[in-house]
């Protein structure tokens, strides 16, 4: 049995369980802390965005899967919200002064910057976002 993360969330409070599961996966696979932290970060941003803004009529349901294959982590986040491509979200102005920087709006920017080979697809009634992370020492 290969270690993997398979986790379903319906509420923002479930996030702690997901982050703990990802850390346990990292321990089982001997992944460097930096890779585990980046994986958690990308999953948290995608999951909280889906729960906050994308809940379907019967509430949010977000499934997360992550596994190690060929020296990289392959992850997928699937939600039942209305069609939304997080990769097309407007980028913040990083050169703005602190007075002009709005509070919020950074989560999906982080995803676009840090996820490798991110792909968005609408599959039936679900949004599916897949990405990879190569193992990074540090």
């Amino acid at each position: 049995m290969v270690a993997a993360v398979a986790f379903t969330l319906t509420d923002a409070d479930d996030l702690t369980g997901l982050l703990d599961a990802v850390e346990a996966f990292g321990d089982a696979e001997g992944l460097p802390m930096k890779t585990v932290m980046t994986l958690n970060l990308l999953l948290e941003e995608l999951v909280t965005n889906a729960i906050q803004y994308g809940a379907g009529p019967d509430g949010a349901k977000v499934s997360v899967r992550a596994e190690l294959r060929g020296g990289a982590v392959h992850a997928a986040v699937r939600d039942n919200g209305s069609a939304f491509n997080p990769l097309l979200h407007e980028a913040p102005d990083l050169d703005a002064s602190i007075d002009d920087r709005p509070i919020g709006g950074l989560g999906l920017h982080i995803v676009r910057q840090m996820a490798q080979n991110p792909v968005y697809e609408r599959q039936g009634t679900e949004n599916v976002l897949t990405f990879e992370l190569t193992i990074e020492e540090g």
């Binding site: 923002a12 409070d13 996030l15 702690t16 982050l19 703990d20 850390e23 802390m33 930096k34 932290m37 980046t38 958690n40 970060l41 948290e44 941003e45 909280t48 913040p92 990083l94 050169d95 002064s97 602190i98 007075d99 920087r101 509070i103 919020g104 950074l106 989560g107 920017h109 982080i110 910057q113 840090m114 540090g138």
Partner: protein, 114 residues
């Protein structure tokens, strides 16, 4: 590991928040009530020590930006220190390294915020 604890220390008129654990969208609420609460109570010289913080998401950045804006409006000083590589990466990609003063050690940060 999953919890965030925030200890408050005072040094030379500077309020130091020592954060240990994970700053995620759940624990950021604790960070917000503690840090923003203190700023609203009059703390304007503030250091945030992140030596034992290995994880921060956009929810934590949100609180740090709020704190930075309020301290700037109060003409105070806000300095971060002890940033781990995983946390520094998040500050880098969001442009936050340019918005905030970052020092290696707490002593340097306290001197700078004084």
């Amino acid at each position: 590991m999953s919890d965030l604890t925030i200890e408050l220390e005072s040094a030379e008129g500077v309020t130091v928040f020592v954060c240990t654990g994970r700053v995620d969208s759940n624990t950021a609420k604790t960070l917000q009530s503690t840090v923003i609460g203190r700023i609203q109570d009059g703390a304007t010289r503030v250091v945030m020590d992140l030596t034992d913080t290995h994880y921060i998401s956009s929810a934590g950045l949100r609180v740090i930006l709020m704190a930075g804006k309020q301290i700037k409006a109060a003409k105070g000083e806000f300095v971060l220190c002890g940033m781990q590589p995983s946390v520094r990466d998040v500050f880098e990609v969001t442009g936050f390294l340019r918005l905030f003063e970052v020092r290696d050690s707490r002593d340097e940060a306290v001197s700078s915020a004084r």
